[in-house]
């Protein structure tokens, strides 16, 4: 089995808890205006390489025992569920934890075998409002929200992520709606919130028009989640 791998970061401090090897797969099914890695969206990328599961695992094993786990990201890695599953099946016996970083547009419920070897999912909820989500990504958020519920119910929601982009959608209103939606899920499962500061570098020129939110704004937003009992990480 093969997949197109954009890159493998041996030591990553931003793709889940502790030190992890992060594997980025090529191809994405949505079109985020603020995408930082637009070259990873299409089916092909001159920087990417076709790799087998074994080849990927060779690159992972080198980091044992310095890492506590691996994270598969993209693109959208859930476009390759069998490949991700095969990697996780080999990672587990090495004592590594397994995380998926996903835009949530593909239903996890349909892949019980993958979920059986997945410790957690870092799920993007790019907007609570359906129209906002379409505006940001050209895709609705019905499955995203259903995934959040499903993952919280089975205890595999590790983190909910949201990129904060003033001007693209109403951040304050979105935060309120997100808190309202997530509060009952937080009763079921302990997950954290990651608020990501939009930064224009790397973004496609035509979309690099939005302003980077201030530290104060991000902190204030974070405070609102904390008031409702969430652990918040701001990057």
């Amino acid at each position: 089995m093969k997949a197109t791998v954009v890159k493998i970061i041996p030591f990553s401090c931003v793709d889940g808890p502790g030190n992890r090897t992060a594997i980025f797969l090529q191809g994405c099914n949505i079109n985020c205006k603020y995408c930082h890695n637009p070259e990873t969206r299409g089916p092909k990328n001159p920087e990417a390489t076709e790799m087998t599961v074994e080849e990927v695992m060779e690159r992972v094993k080198k980091q044992v025992p310095f890492i506590r786990g691996i994270t598969v990201s993209g693109g959208e890695c859930m476009l390759h569920p069998e490949f991700v599953q095969a990697i996780f099946e080999q990672a587990k016996p090495l004592g590594l934890t397994t995380l998926i970083d996903s835009n949530g547009t593909i239903p996890f419920e349909k892949y019980p075998e993958l979920m059986a070897v997945t410790d957690g999912v870092m799920l993007d909820i790019k907007a609570m409002n359906r129209e906002d989500h379409i505006k940001i990504t050209d895709h609705d958020n019905d499955t995203v929200l259903a995934n959040a519920k499903y993952l919280a119910e089975c205890g595999k929601l590790y983190e909910v992520r949201s990129v904060i982009v003033p001007g693209l959608y109403n951040g304050d209103k979105n935060a309120d709606a997100l808190i309202e939606f997530l509060e009952p899920l937080h009763q079921l499962s302990d997950f954290r919130i990651k608020l990501i500061t939009y930064r224009p570098n790397g973004v496609r020129e035509e979309y690099a028009i939005y302003k980077q939110p201030s530290k104060v704004f991000m902190q204030r937003l974070g405070e609102r989640f904390r008031e409702h009992g969430f652990e918040v990480v701001i990057v």
Binding site: F11, C13, G18, V64, P65, F66, I67, R68
Partner: protein, 514 residues
Amino acid sequence: MRPITMERVEDTRKQILDTIESATLTHEQKVTNLANLADSLLEVLDLPEGLDELLNSEGDAKCICDLFEGHAPMRPRYIAPDYEKLLKEGCEYLRLPAPTDLMEALNTLLIFYKHVPSITNYPVYLGQLDELLEPFVDTVDEAMGRKLVKNFLMNVDRTILDSFSHADVGPRETKIGYYIFDAEKELQDAVPNISMKYDADITPDHFLKAAVECGLACAKPSFANHKMFVSELGERYVIASCYNGLPLGGGSYTLCRLILGNIAKRSKDIADFKEKQLPYVMDIMARYMDARVKFEVEESGYFDNTFLIKEGFIEREKFTAMYGLVGLADAVNILLEKEGKTGRFGHDEIATQLGVEIMDIIDAFNQNHEAPYCEVTGGHYLLHAQVGIAEDQGITPGVRIPIGEEPDELIDQLEVMSHFHKYFPSGTGDIFPVDMTVHANPEYVMDIIKGSFQRNLRYLSFYSSDNDVIRVTGYLIKRSELEKLDSGVAVIHDTTALGLGASKNGHILERKVR
């Protein structure tokens, strides 16, 4: 005592006057330098033949360096007193009764520190602070305890004017340990240097995490592989000065270093280096160290007269000495080039392999050399990967990969280093500046420490790339103080001047950020 020329006397007199008139030296720094200049006029050691050329040449011809220890060593380079004894029994000479509460314990230590000499004239070891103070922690309430510990640490920074002064914490979790970390985060001071002795089977994760968070805020503590040090030196060991593992209640008589890059330069090829040049220099340096140790023990009178010996805070039998080296990377690269082989230290298997072969030769030599008065370490010196001095140009510290040539990925750097840390019970270490993003994920650093110690790495330091307190080579400085000194203003710690040299000659501000 052998005579010296009037020319040398006149030259020294000029240096004395320059020292007295210096605008950038504090009073204490002048006094230290004046003492060193007086000592430099003596010629009392029984020096091995051939030493002069290797020690006193300039530039590439200098293959041995004695780190300004002077011509007539009057005390051991590093002294690690048994402070536990002090806090249990007090000190008769200093008229200090055994302390009964935290305030008295801290006061006792601060007084005692003034009477512990070293090469720097300041104590290079301040004790296993958390274990020492933990018996007193509940003699005051927590708020007062924290205040006392913080004031103690501030006192140390402002009165021990040299960041080779080192305190240890761990591996056991202690309340005082947390007080120290929280205080240091606020203080942002360069002194004392701190090591956490870490053992995955003893140290709980939340204690390690507090230490890592402190390290990201103020560049200390560093992390010492407790299991590894215990296996070599036993439970009663200390980390002193930069990162030097030494027996508690003893220390190190002396430290000299081989400049391996320059030994490689005088070699025709790898065989000449391994079979002739390196053994020749190693032998002379070992015999030079022997002479220094013998003078200290037999002539200087230090061990006969100090109250530290008389009252049992140190024992002569617990002293050893450090057989140091710098520039393994330089030697490997020069030798590969001489052989017409491609490969750089830190990047290619062939270079790692040659590095290991060189270290095996040095290790075997040391194991075969009968060192005087080193009973505590089996009659041999301890190998030491020296971190460099301010004047070093084109000399890579110890067995490190040169700054600017670090592999792109940290994993590759750790892999290379894992071959070399085992040789150095008296210290080696690597330093990693990390990106601010790591602050949201201290477990990242914790995982690297845990993995490294499983792979037999010995000692690791981390700091945030944009902090004020940063690690130079083994010691700490404040960047803000560095800038002051660079503009010609005298600053409190003598190590800031060393840091200034290292930033210009050793490019320490240009390490690869992880």
